[in-house]
């Protein structure tokens, strides 16, 4: 059976594309088509988007939010063919299993609902009124928020939906946006925009989605980056550096670098008893804190196949070796269970080879140096217990469990990773401990401390990397009345 083709672009009406395409394979089942825009086409696309933005300025922000929400709702509606198409194509394009693709779509699309977008406007921009015109705030100050005319968003990474969240924020703040999705994330932004075009053509006129291979010197990249009035870039250090270099010196850049997710587990989360029983030895009982925290931890690791910025990779256990080992063993069991519910995508040949090497070597090292390895066998999850955090790219889902004696020890260990910290998931910490940890993490620059259960899904108004997501895109204009 020949592979399915997916057109990985959305151009606003009346623009259509009739030129040559490049085809990228996504496994054996899917091919994505990418347009090869010339410099002229790139320039006229940019000009078109700027013009469309003018019309966007006249629309109330809350109306835009509702239009975006209606588009997002289509992707959540089981009867909608758009959702069916998304679920058919996502696994191959994003390299996720079917059940995982569904879980990710549902989780990401929940943030695109009208309710959430309106709540976001409430949280950051006076319900959107600040975007519609000058208003007076509580202190009597007159001000107005305005986002620049043209956003260019360069996304990287394979978590589907990240690029939709990005373009939604731009449109909500009344910027036109040219979006390059990350490789593996080409499908959802295109489908979202098709939905939007059917619901609100005027808003849809202000967005274009084109996939190109990042850093490949495509005419569109060359033309658009210097034209951007604001640049949003997701990616590894190299991608961020390259994008910054291509933008003008005066262009604001909002960067979302890749992150190291962490978790800190307190002793209350290690309690293997259930209320009303006495036994503290033996396997964790159903309903015990240990089982709950291990299940939540496994879920946080498994979601997005651990590729999200929020995905925890290291679990610090505030306790002794035995407690850490008990947690690690329980976590291994929970990963085994969740593999059945949310299977990992199959590994490629090279990844499978690397996993054999890393696992086998870790097993042998644990024989001499302490530490333990729990391996999923044919399933690609692994749990490592040990004092050191080994910095190696490890295929499949991997949880590193590290026993530590104190909050200070956690902060000490995290010091050298401070530039890549964002989400720190916590469980079982006494209030005083949590306070101490939170203050220390804030000083290190971590943007988010969240309960383990909700770590995978930040609330829509979170300070994404320390900034309100809409606040990062707008500039305030104050109108000062004469005198005091």
């Amino acid at each position: 059976m020949s592979p399915r083709r997916f057109q990985a672009w959305f151009l606003p009406a009346p623009l259509t594309y009739v030129g040559g395409v490049e085809v990228f394979e996504r496994g054996h089942e899917l091919e994505i088509e990418v347009p090869l825009l010339s410099e002229d086409s790139a320039r006229s696309l940019v000009a078109h988007l700027r013009r469309a933005r003018t019309a966007l300025l006249e629309r109330p922000a809350r109306e835009i939010a509702r239009a975006l929400g209606a588009a997002g709702a289509r992707l959540l509606d089981p009867q909608d063919e758009l959702r069916r198409e998304a679920l058919e194509v996502l696994p191959a394009s994003a390299r996720l299993s079917g059940p995982m693709a569904r879980a990710v779509l549902d989780g990401m699309a929940a943030d695109w609902s009208a309710t959430r977008l309106l709540a976001l406007l409430d949280a950051e921009l006076h319900g959107g009124a600040a975007l519609d015109g000058f208003l007076s705030d509580a202190t009597g100050r007159r001000k107005r928020a305005l986002a620049p005319a043209l956003n260019v968003h360069v996304c990287a990474g394979t978590v589907p939906g990240v690029s939709v969240t990005s373009l939604v924020r731009a449109l909500l703040t009344k910027s036109a946006v040219l979006l390059k999705p990350g490789s593996g994330d080409e499908v959802l932004p295109v489908l979202f925009c098709r939905a939007l075009a059917g619901i609100d053509p005027l808003v849809a006129a202000a967005v274009a989605v084109v996939y190109w291979k990042g850093g490949s010197d495509e005419p569109l990249e060359r033309t658009s980056l210097p034209e951007a009035d604001l640049l949003v870039v997701y990616g590894g250090d190299e991608a961020v550096t390259r994008a910054r270099a291509a933008a003008r010196a005066t262009t604001p850049v909002v960067a979302y670098p890749h992150r190291l997710g962490i978790a800190v587990m307190g002793t209350a989360a290690m309690d293997s008893t259930t209320p009303g029983t006495r036994s503290a030895s033996g396997p964790a009982e159903r309903g015990s804190a240990l089982e709950r925290s291990a299940t939540a931890a496994a879920r946080a690791v498994a979601l997005f196949d651990q590729r999200g910025c929020v995905s925890p990779h290291v679990f610090f256990v505030l306790g002794d070796e035995n407690q850490a080992a008990a947690f690690a063993a329980r976590l291994a069991e929970a990963l085994r269970v969740i593999e059945g519910q949310l299977p990992a995508a199959p590994l490629e040949e090279g990844e499978a080879s690397t996993l054999q090497q890393l696992r086998g070597t870790a097993e042998m090292e644990s024989a001499v140096g302490g530490g333990r390895v729990w391996s999923g066998g044919a399933a690609s999850w692994t749990v490592l217990l040990g004092a050191r955090i080994e910095l190696v790219t490890w295929p499949g889902r991997v949880a590193r469990v590290v026993p530590v004696g104190s909050v200070e020890a956690v902060l000490q260990a995290l010091g050298r990773f401070r530039r890549h910290l964002q989400t720190v998931a916590v469980a079982g910490l006494a209030p005083a401990t949590l306070e101490l940890l939170s203050e220390g993490l804030a000083r290190l620059g971590a943007a988010r401390i969240a309960p383990l259960e909700s770590a995978p899904w930040p609330p829509p108004w979170w300070h994404h990397d320390g900034l309100g997501p809409l606040s990062a895109l707008v500039r305030w204009t104050d109108s000062e009345e004469g005198g005091r």
């Binding site: 390299r95 990287a156 990474g157 394979t158 978590v159 990240v162 593996g184 997701y234 590894g236 250090d237 979302y256 670098p257 890749h258 992150r259 190291l260 997710g261 997005f304 196949d305 651990q306 590729r307 999200g308 910025c309 995905s311 990779h313 199959p346 590994l347 490629e348 040949e349 090279g350 990844e351 499978a352 080879s353 690397t354 996993l355 054999q356 090497q357 890393l358 696992r359 086998g360 070597t361 097993e363 042998m364 090292e365 024989a367 001499v368 066998g377 044919a378 690609s380 910095l391 190696v392 790219t393 490890w394 295929p395 050298r416 990773f417 530039r419 890549h420």
Partner: protein, 391 residues
């Protein structure tokens, strides 16, 4: 009771010490690499070596136990658990007294970063006993007397290179007068090579050129700089051994192109060039069979680019499914695990990162499995490492 050489009782290993075990193996190897062994001999020796390694190598024993394999449960050689090749980078794998190690061979350190794999060799004479019959069977089966011209550094220049030691041992055993070394780890003696090859031409003394693919490419580049006209007409009987991949350095040249250029420069038929596949972690080697016999055909390109290699009778391989490590049938590509009896003093069963498949009695080698690439919004570990070291 004295019996003929074909009695299998004589090949039982004396496992009272590593010395006696090694001597037993060495004398078995010395009977030659040309002919297949009687049925059952490989397995019997493999199981005895597994028992030895289980008893004397604590790291390996714990690894094997973890995989559910003990001398009492392992019924066949295929059940002996292979150790990941990268383990040689992380720990010392010795089945015997570590203080008796005679030599440590080290890899060139290109796999998985800057760590170098170490192979601790208890007895170099066991290494020699394995490599010499194999070398002779593949390169000298016509009993030719060849002057060795080596583009591989000598063992004194590169004492931790197993390849240098191998060529040194072969040169000592089989090299005709005038054999020599024409490279150091950092440079090639282009002028020396020129003189040596001209002398051989004049004296009508056949030569055996030995080098890595990288060294040959480097040499060809040097020759084309020296002048397009530099050519040799090597005496008949001359041959060439090419070993190793490109390991990421120099330009990547398909094998058939490299051989075609060498053939042109040297006046040597392509059928006189063969490839050897080995690694620091294995004391035995695979060779392409049939030097001098391979018929040149128009489709030689693809034939050369996917080599078929054969082992001596004391070396076997399996192609394994990368996920389950189950053995794959003939013709199906998988991860190569090697079972080398000459590795009695370290670990016999090694799981590599190389891909290949079985074809008849030979191994078709496809190349290295690509490493895992970081993906997603999670920071790549090497970025994290760079940032962490930056302070």
């Amino acid at each position: 009771m004295k019996t003929q050489g074909s009695s299998e009782a004589r090949t039982d290993l004396d496992v009272t010490s590593f010395s006696s075990l090694a001597e037993g193996l060495a004398s078995t190897f010395r009977t030659g690499a040309d002919l297949p062994w009687p049925a059952g001999r490989f397995e019997k020796l493999a199981l005895q070596i597994f028992r030895w390694q289980f008893a004397t190598n604590e790291i390996y024993r714990r690894f094997a136990e973890g995989r559910g394999a003990t001398p009492d449960t392992v019924a066949g050689w295929e059940e002996i658990p292979p150790v990941p090749v990268r383990a040689f980078q992380r720990m010392r794998l010795v089945s015997g007294d570590p203080d008796s190690v005679e030599r440590i061979f080290r890899t060139s350190g290109t796999t998985g970063g800057t760590l170098r794999g170490e192979h601790h060799v208890l007895r170099l004479d066991l290494y020699r006993a394995s490599l010499l019959p194999s070398f002779r069977a593949r390169l000298l089966q016509d009993d030719a007397s060849l002057r060795f011209i080596s583009l591989i550094p000598s063992p004194s220049e590169a004492p931790d290179s197993s390849l240098s030691t191998m060529v040194g041992a072969a040169m000592d055993a089989y090299g005709a007068a005038g054999s020599g070394w024409f490279a150091t780890p950092r440079s090639l003696d282009v002028e020396g090579l020129l003189n040596a090859l001209r002398s051989a031409e004049q004296e009508r003394q056949p030569v055996l050129l030995l080098g890595t693919a990288f060294a040959f490419v480097h040499w060809l580049e040097a020759l084309s700089v020296a002048g397009a006209g530099v050519r040799f007409d090597l005496p008949s009987g001359s041959r060439l051994l090419e070993t190793g991949g490109f390991k990421g350095r120099s330009r990547v040249l398909p094998r058939h192109e490299l051989y075609a250029e060498l053939s042109d420069r040297l006046g040597l038929g392509i059928e006189w060039m063969i490839n050897e596949y080995g690694m620091t972690e294995l004391l035995s080697q695979y060779y392409e069979p049939g030097v001098g016999k391979r018929a040149p055909t128009p489709s030689l390109g693809p034939v050369l680019d996917s080599r078929r290699l054969v082992p001596p009778p004391w070396l076997r391989f399996r192609a394994l499914d990368p996920v389950t490590l189950r053995a794959l049938p003939e013709g199906q590509r998988g991860l190569l695990a090697h079972y080398d009896l000459a590795n009695a003093g370290s670990v016999m069963a090694v799981l590599t990162e190389d891909l290949g498949y079985r074809e008849g009695d030979g191994l078709k080698l496809l190349g290295r499995a690509p490493g895992a690439e970081p993906r997603g919004c999670s920071v790549a570990m090497d970025e994290l490492l760079a940032a962490a070291e930056g302070g």
